[in-house]
């Protein structure tokens, strides 16, 4: 037996073992994959499907597809269609299905409605663009403010100050409070009649009255939801950035200072690049969670469409659960998902590039 023959035999053994390991790993992850498919992938797919159809409360109990032999057979013989634009009454049960998909096709009406504008108005004034604009403004302001303030607090807590542990504990408190409670708390604090924030702003000379209505103007209503959201989420940002700061190699900072770098230069050119992966992850998670924000907005300033706070989440909820138009609600969700997918792809690319730059 030659050495070459032995090596080939060993390689074959290894490859067989690797394949067995791979199958074993797959088998171990299979239950998790099945659960994820059931609770995430299938609802998303159904959401995408119903966004193209008339789908109201009475359709909730309908099966999505007529998959009986007669209907499938009819599809090939031309007797049944893939979709029907007629309301389908218990199809596939008594009289035979008229279409494979059990909902009524509405010629993209759900999507068209989102971009509907009255004559003489720009498409930018359509329901979708208004909600999208409100969402972007809210997310941008909230994430920027919480990142800046979170970084300042994290830097402070990363330095050697007295009572650092106590401050860290206290600053975490807002994170433990449920969003609905935060919304009600801020609603009371910003209330026109007896709100303590109005009183404080008056005493400090920022306002000329103690009775400011924060819901009566677009700017103030947006400010109110940003303040409440930042207050609630600041501890999360602070903890993430603090964890990043604590992992920074101090020798790099000392080297920069020995080379004559100022504190700001050290921060910008050593600290920030060192925590960039943490920073990007924290900002990205904050963007995602604020894109989905419903509770604070709805309970603080309400769901009315004239206060500039009607975000995509509010619009989707209103369509689905107030107007019972699940198809249109799903259409908002699908467009929203598409926007987030684009942002995710861009973010991942930026993140990968920054990691390469740093290496």
């Amino acid at each position: 037996m030659t050495v070459q023959h032995l090596e080939t035999k060993q390689k074959k053994k290894k490859s067989a073992r690797a394949r067995a390991d791979s199958w074993f790993g797959f088998a171990l992850t299979l239950p998790a994959i099945i659960v994820l498919c059931i609770v995430i992938a299938l609802p998303i797919l159904k959401g995408v499907l119903v966004s193209f159809f008339d789908y109201h409360l009475q359709d909730l109990t309908k099966d999505a597809f007529n998959l009986d032999a007669r209907t499938i057979g009819g599809l090939f013989s031309g007797e049944t269609a893939l979709v029907s634009d007629q309301p389908i009454v218990p199809a596939g049960r008594d009289k035979g299905a008229s279409a494979v998909i059990n909902y009524s096709w509405n010629n993209l009406k759900n999507y068209k409605d989102l971009f509907y504008v009255r004559e003489g108005k720009s498409v930018l004034e359509s329901e979708f663009f208004q909600s999208f604009q409100n969402t972007v403004i809210f997310v941008f302001l909230t994430v920027v403010v919480q990142t800046v303030i979170g970084m300042m607090i994290a830097l402070l807590l990363n330095s050697r100050i007295r009572g650092r542990g106590l401050f860290r504990g206290l600053l975490l408190v807002p994170w433990t409070i449920p969003s609905v409670v935060v919304a009600i708390l801020w609603r009371l604090m910003l209330h026109q009649e007896g709100g303590i924030m109005n009183y404080a702003l008056f005493i400090l000379g920022f306002t000329s009255t103690t009775r400011v209505s924060w819901s009566s103007s677009v700017v103030l209503a947006r400010a109110a939801i940003v303040i409440a959201a930042v207050w609630r989420q600041l501890p999360y940002m602070m903890v993430m950035l603090l964890a990043g700061l604590q992992s920074v190699d101090h020798s790099l900072q000392e080297a920069a200072q020995i080379d004559g770098a100022s504190g700001w230069q050290t921060f910008m050119h050593v600290t920030i690049p060192s925590i960039r992966p943490v920073l990007i992850s924290a900002v990205w998670i904050a963007i995602m969670s604020n894109f989905q924000m419903y509770t604070i907005i709805a309970n603080l300033v309400g769901t009315g469409s004239k206060t500039g706070t009607n975000t995509l989440s509010i619009a989707a909820y209103q369509e689905a659960f107030t107007n019972n138009d699940f198809g249109k609600g799903a259409a908002i969700g699908v467009l929203w998902l598409a926007v987030l997918l684009v942002i995710t792809i861009i973010s991942n690319r930026l993140s990968a590039r920054s990691a390469t730059d740093y290496q």
């Binding site: 009475q58 109990t61 509907y116 009649e193 819901s215 009566s216 769901t303 009315g304 206060t307 019972n324």
Partner: protein
């Protein structure tokens, strides 16, 4: 010995038969948003307890509930899925949606024809869908004007307002008492709470306007409707009314604190306002409820519906429950609880509302004149758009702009 064994065997068989014949009580489920409010459980749950006491063969499970804000959406989802409680308390304006969903059961064969015969034709029509009876009329309530007589006295007002113009004049006089005092408050929480859109109907009616005109067309930007919106705008601009951000709950608190001269609200919420007062005795001494002058309140009718998922064999028990809930015992429990609920059955009202207080008498009188809400399948969605119009007025839009925008938006909803 054989005889003894025979006797014992026969006795055992007879006992077994008797045991098998003793019917176990049947259980029906019932829900109301009021059951989610602790202080209302003795009234709404108490009614079920009274029924169970008088009908020991039926158990009413009233453990399932949702707070008002989520109640309708959760109920609709449960009904669509066939998992709703068998009997549910609803507001009349919700019935068209439930009918469109096809989830409501015909109760006509199971409720007493004599009881149904006591309701007027309009009420019976409101719960009928062709030959089917799709809901049991339960009770109605309406709004009366809360008046703070202490503020009226401070403003030099000696008599209760008798017309809409007098009410406005008095409201302006009261508002002049201070920056934080409001004459006539109109709630608008911008959608945090529901029901604030149709709350402006009394103002529309005061100016001869309405949601629809005589031909049935939407008329929210008619000449009279614009006058009504102009009145609301002036109340907001002049600081006579509270502005955006104040819900009914806020108004109750402010009224209790003595900061509002007039606003319309339910009899059941007088206690809530009183609880915000520094001195409850003083509050009641300065409180008076009258019919809204120059206009009237809107009737909020409450029904009981039975969902399709109720097994047919339980329907006789459900029918007995529905009959009982409309009877004097239950309406009496509501009256004792200060709920201001008036039955549509004259015989019940005659038994319950005997020697009532001036406040209750005002509500009973207001109920007699109250107009129905313009209920249809899109009304609830349209209602939220009226709230947007109120917000527009507070943000500086003219009455004409707000009315035109409202009319166009609601027309589109109906066109769809």
């Amino acid at each position: 010995m054989k005889k003894l064994a025979l006797i014992l065997a026969v006795t055992l068989m007879v006992s077994c038969c008797a045991f098998a014949n003793a019917e176990a009580p049947v259980t029906i489920s019932y829900t109301s948003w009021a059951l989610a409010e602790e202080h209302l459980v003795p009234i709404y749950g108490g009614s079920c307890d009274a029924f169970m006491k008088d009908n020991p063969d039926i158990i009413v499970d009233y453990s399932q509930t949702n707070p008002y804000a989520d109640y309708l959406s959760q109920l609709k989802i449960a009904a669509a899925n066939g998992t709703a409680p068998y009997v549910a308390h609803i507001k009349a304006e919700w019935l068209p949606e439930l009918l469109a969903m096809g989830v409501v059961k015909d109760i006509k064969p199971y409720v007493s024809a004599d009881i149904v015969g006591e309701y007027n034709a309009a009420t019976v029509a409101a719960v009928s869908d062709g030959d089917r009876m799709v809901a049991m009329p339960w009770f109605g309530n309406t709004y009366a004007l809360y008046c703070n007589t202490a503020l009226m006295a401070q403003a030099g007002i000696t008599e209760m307002p008798a017309t809409w113009d007098e009410l406005l004049d008095d409201a302006y006089k009261i508002a002049e008492l201070g920056d934080d005092i409001y004459g006539l408050a109109i709630p608008n929480s911008n959608g945090v709470e529901a029901g604030e859109g149709y709350n402006i109907l009394p103002v529309l009616w005061a100016y001869g306007a309405d949601y629809r005109d005589a031909e049935g067309n939407l008329a929210l930007n008619s000449e009279n409707a614009v006058k009504a919106f102009q009145c609301i705008k002036e109340l907001l601009d002049d600081g006579v009314s509270t502005t955006v951000g104040n819900s009914f709950k806020d108004l109750r608190r402010l009224f209790g604190e003595g900061k509002i001269g007039f606003y319309w609200d339910l009899e059941a919420t007088i206690k809530t306002a009183a609880s915000a007062a520094a001195n409850e005795e003083e509050f009641y001494a300065n409180f008076k409820a009258i019919e809204i002058p120059g206009t009237c309140g809107y009737a909020i009718n409450h029904f009981l519906v039975v969902f399709n998922n109720t097994p047919d064999e339980l329907m006789p028990a459900v029918g007995r429950f529905l009959d009982y809930m409309t009877d004097a015992t239950v309406i009496g429990i509501f009256y004792e609880g200060g709920q201001g609920k008036v039955s549509g059955r004259a015989s019940v009202n005659e038994k319950v509302f005997v020697g009532v207080s001036d406040t209750s008498a005002a509500y009973v009188a207001a109920m007699g004149k109250a107009l129905p809400l313009p209920i249809d399948i899109h009304f609830m969605e349209a209602e939220s758009k009226i709230v947007d119009a109120l917000t527009m007025l507070a943000q500086g839009a003219t009455a004409q702009e707000a009315a035109d925008e409202l009319q166009a938006t609601i027309e589109k909803i109906y066109a769809e």
